[in-house]
């Protein structure tokens, strides 16, 4: 007969407490563990495609800094914007979602096969759209946009079916579901805008084309990317810092308010209503509550030292504060329409997509890529050989260097955009490319483990 040997009195004490809670009906019952990590090839394919788009976009900005210093309603700016939003951020975020959603929500991805099919539609769609925007051929934009939309539809269906499986909804699931709803509206709005430009969807002519474009871009940035950053960080930041959500109501309030503000903002930007500042204020309130909860999570953390991936992420979300101030200024209906306010809009877009979203995504990539490679290379060797820890797979020196260069790039480029100085914007973009070079070196270092695993023999088991 087996004899149970207690490991420590502290475990026993915790167990007794848990039993008491069970007896009083307050404890959550033990859930069968049913998490499945998608094969690493799937998220890595999206991530690698995204990184290629990022590097191409950075080189493009160095070669043509006027994309940033001229008003953004031109072929190159719209093409570059779609390269960053769909090619870089879209690819990486979708790939990461296929891996993170099952982890964060403790379930299985509905269909890996659908995700693989989406990858083909996604890459063909965004590459074609960027090229078509560059030559301003709206028929081709519409055709490749449709291809891209089919991919997005597969993504939405797949993640929605995954959400249906989760046993208990929480703030993370609510944020993911919201992001799915908003991305469907973003894509639909994009297709309608293109249809109007090709002589279809004539009802779109009742809307100001700049207003429609801004409503579409704003909803994409906040409704999809920021919503996911907010939702997923409620799982990942506590996980990486050994902490927990401090106030679930506060976390949920941030997501609800963000949704309310987004709905109102979309309509008020599209119709250019005087209510814009009100909805901007609601979004700012949502982000302030999010920041409040993040601070509380960080204050309660037990792991004092923050790794560079987390630092990138936290720095990025702290940039939501100046971005919010700029949003309130730009939402003011009496703001004069002059070249300077046009450049302020460019700064707003740049800080949102590069300073906040891209920086946060790079930070999370420093957690996700090592995990994926480690999982694919080393998980089968645990217990048979010594395997490296995730932190040993990246160069901290390159991470630190990349972090500071990125911040310098942001400061210099913002200055260049604000004063429409192409030379300064080019220097800032070169810094940005240099920062990305450190990311590329680190990604190469991480991927090298796939080809040259660093295994060491285990110490011999103790003989009795």
């Amino acid at each position: 007969m087996a004899v149970f040997l207690p490991i420590s009195a502290r475990v026993e004490a915790l167990k007794r407490n848990a039993l008491k809670r069970n007896a009083s009906g307050n404890a959550s019952t033990l859930q069968p563990f049913n998490v499945s990590t998608a094969s690493i090839a799937l998220p890595l394919s999206f991530i690698v495609a995204g990184l290629f788009a990022l590097f191409a976009g950075a080189i493009w900005l160095v070669a043509q800094p006027q994309i940033l210093t001229a008003y953004h309603y031109n072929a190159s700016a719209v093409a570059a914007m779609h390269l960053f939003a769909l090619g870089w951020l879209g690819s990486v975020v979708i790939g990461a979602m296929y891996q993170l959603v099952p982890v964060a929500l403790e379930t299985k991805l509905f269909s890996e096969q659908l995700a693989k099919i989406q990858f083909a539609f996604h890459v063909v769609g965004f590459v074609g759209m960027v090229l078509a925007f560059r030559v301003w051929n709206m028929k081709f934009v519409g055709a490749f946009g449709t291809v891209f939309t089919i991919g997005v539809a597969l993504f939405i269906y797949n993640v929605a079916r995954t959400l249906v499986r989760i046993p208990k909804w929480n703030v993370i699931a609510a944020a993911v579901a919201s992001a799915l709803a908003w991305i469907s509206l973003v894509v639909a709005a994009g297709l309608l805008i293109v249809s109007a430009k090709t002589g279809h969807a004539n009802f779109m002519f009742r809307f100001n084309p700049i207003g429609a474009m801004h409503a579409h871009a704003h909803l994409g940035a906040l409704g999809f990317f920021i919503m996911l950053i907010v939702g997923v960080s409620y799982k990942l930041i506590p996980m990486f810092t050994l902490s927990e959500i401090q106030n679930h109501h506060r976390a949920l309030a941030s997501v609800i308010l963000l949704n309310a503000g987004l709905a109102g903002s979309f309509i008020s930007i599209l119709l250019q209503l005087a209510l814009k500042p009100l909805f901007a204020l609601i979004i700012v309130a949502a982000l302030a509550i999010y920041g409040w909860e993040m601070m509380a999570i960080l204050r309660a953390r037990k792991r004092r030292a923050l790794d560079w991936g987390v630092r990138y992420f936290l720095t990025a979300i702290s940039l939501l504060a100046p971005l919010s101030i700029l949003a309130l200024v730009l939402s003011w209906p009496k703001l004069p329409l002059n070249p300077f306010t046009g450049q302020l809009e460019n700064v707003y877009g740049f800080v949102a997509f590069v300073g906040v979203i891209s920086f946060a995504v790079i930070g999370m990539l420093y957690k996700i890529i090592p995990f994926l490679v480690w999982f694919g290379t080393y998980s089968k060797h645990i217990g048979r050989a010594q395997v490296p820890a995730l932190a040993e797979m990246v160069s901290e020196k390159w991470q630190r260097l990349g972090y500071w260069i990125f911040l310098a790039a942001l400061a210099v480029t913002i200055f260049g955009i604000l004063f429409s100085n192409a030379l300064v914007a080019r220097i800032g973009s070169a810094f940005f490319a240099a920062s990305l070079a450190t990311l590329a070196l680190n990604v190469g270092k991480i991927l090298s483990h796939c080809f040259q695993p660093k295994l060491a023999p285990l110490a011999a088991p103790k003989k009795l």
Partner: protein
């Protein structure tokens, strides 16, 4: 029957070879092992993970099993992962807390 005596200390010493790859501390000092039961050559380990959604679930439980089977005298190994009671930092050893610079709790 191998006739070799296995005890809890030996099992724990063996399991110290398994490092949580995210945290960089072995699973024993991290306090993830809740219990060990031994009957003849059969070893059962009841353990937890730092978070219920931990993506390392299968890797770590598989690794524990592999390691146990390497131990002389072990003919069968079972790993049960539980999340009640939930893992807490108070379960970490003093060495692990120092290594992680874990604050007060």
């Amino acid at each position: 029957m191998t006739g070799t005596k296995i005890d809890e200390a030996a099992v724990l010493e063996t399991l110290r070879q398994i490092i949580d790859p995210e945290i960089g501390v072995n699973i024993v000092d991290l306090g993830l092992i809740y219990g060990v039961s031994i009957a003849d050559g059969m070893v059962r380990v009841k353990m937890t993970l730092t978070t219920p959604g931990c993506p390392m679930h299968d890797s770590i439980s598989g690794g524990v099993k592999n390691t146990l089977l390497e131990l002389e005298g072990v003919t069968e190994a079972e790993v049960e992962i539980v999340f009640e009671p939930p893992w807490h930092l108070s379960l970490m050893s003093e060495q692990a807390r120092i290594a992680l610079r874990v604050g007060n709790f």
